[in-house]
Amino acid sequence: MGVVTTEQVKPRRLPGVEGIWVFIGADSVIFAILFLSFMQDRLKNPALFEASRHTLNMNLGGLDTVILLTSSWSVALAVQAMKRDQIDREPRLLLGGAVTGLMFVVSKSFEYFQKFSHGLNPGTNAFYMWYFTLTGIHLVHVVVGTSLLTYLWVRSLRGTYDHLHRAVPESVASYWHLVDLLWVVLFPLLYLMRAV
């Protein structure tokens, strides 16, 4: 007779389909290379980078961080609901994730528009090249993620996902959290990192 313990012994697993973690890992390494490259370029002209950094809107950037963190939270709760077969909770949580993703896109678009109207674009100087490139590539990730979350929301309305059918939403969620954590680094890197 086995001993019954109150502690759950769950086998270790990666959420979603295994292959998504190859993608997440590769994307993380690629961004780390980009961060390194940014810092290398900054080393050549810290004064230029510092002066350009001052034109960025720190408050908006901080707000964007909170938006993405909230989005991740909503999606994480959605996955939890799936594990517990709480099918009617799923749609609003997934929609929450998609809507906050959309809010980020709108915020970023507004920020870019402001920059362009001040005559600042990727060609202006090395800092702006990096700012637009890094946030731009990240924004593409956000758009893709928001689209996927919207797709999940639609399917969840039909009760597609439960504890036995959650590989796709878990994969999307894992990807979405990557998008979130990349911004957690990007924001201080571009907006907050003061020079001495």
């Binding site: 292959g19 190859v22 690629i30 990096w130 490139t133």
Partner: protein, 259 residues
């Protein structure tokens, strides 16, 4: 309810070769992939000194001087690379045949792969020819023409990426659909294919910048875009080469070997 006659064999027709297969030639063609990769790496990468390439920000005079300095090396590296690019085409044919064993004979994605891979050879060969000509003729040409030829090569080489994207997408889709318990090509390689696919798009920025990460010699357009592919191809080649004896064994087990 059967509405047509039972097939003559019990094994599913789609999974086996419907025609006699020359496994040896197939395997040789699969090996041309790594041979091509090795040649390009050594010749274009090392001998022609393209890791990283001479910068996009170089002036016409700097480009001419670079080609003059490198002339003998370039004549050797680029001429051989041009000819050996055909090995990529042969590799793609071998790959298409492996894909057909999952998709079914005449499958559209294996056709797309073969076309995508073969057509990839065109911009590569053309680029090698452009730079070879530039190197050959450098002492007769003005710096402006040299600069133009240098950029002509890079635009041709880089911006035709989408034929390769189609090839990669077709490969990843088919191999992810493989129903074998141990897939012929593991999912990790297919997912890396998607990373490679995604990494190509940013290269479209090269006409607009000469410095920074998006320039054709920069961190993103060169190091990341090229090396995702440079990692994908050997990984894929390894499994394509290994797949052929596996498929031969499957054919043998089903009594379908053409002895």
């Amino acid at each position: 309810m059967a509405i047509h006659a039972e097939p003559p064999t019990v094994t599913p027709a789609r999974g086996l070769a419907p025609y006699p297969t020359d496994y040896r030639s197939w395997k040789i063609l699969a090996w041309t992939g790594p041979v091509f990769l090795f040649a390009v790496f050594c010749l274009w990468g090392i001998l022609a000194d393209n890791m990283p390439p001479f910068p996009a920000s170089a002036t016409p005079v700097e480009v001419k001087e670079h080609f003059q300095e490198m002339r003998p090396r370039l004549l050797i590296a680029l001429s051989i690379c041009l000819t050996m690019t055909a090995f990529y085409m042969s590799f793609c044919v071998a790959t298409a045949r492996v894909m057909e064993r999952i998709e079914g004979p005449g499958g559209i994605l294996s056709k797309l792969e073969m076309m995508g891979g073969t057509i990839t050879c065109a911009p590569v060969m053309t680029t090698m020819s452009i730079w070879l000509t530039a190197a050959h003729e450098v002492n007769n040409l003005s710096p402006e023409i040299m600069h133009m030829l240098y950029w002509f090569g890079w635009f041709t080489f880089d911006l035709a990426y989408f034929v390769t994207s189609f090839q990669i997408a077709a490969i990843s889709i088919v191999f992810m659909r493989d129903k074998r318990e141990k897939k012929l090509v593991p999912n990790a390689v297919s997912w890396w294919g998607w990373i490679t696919f995604a990494s190509f798009f940013v290269v479209s920025a090269i006409p607009f910048v000469t410095t920074g990460p998006l320039a054709f010699h920069g961190v993103i357009s060169f190091w990341i875009a090229f090396f995702t592919w440079f990692i994908w191809i050997p990984a894929l080649s390894y499994y394509i080469i290994k797949a052929i004896p596996r498929l031969q064994a499957e054919d043998a087990a089903a009594g379908r070997l053409n002895d």
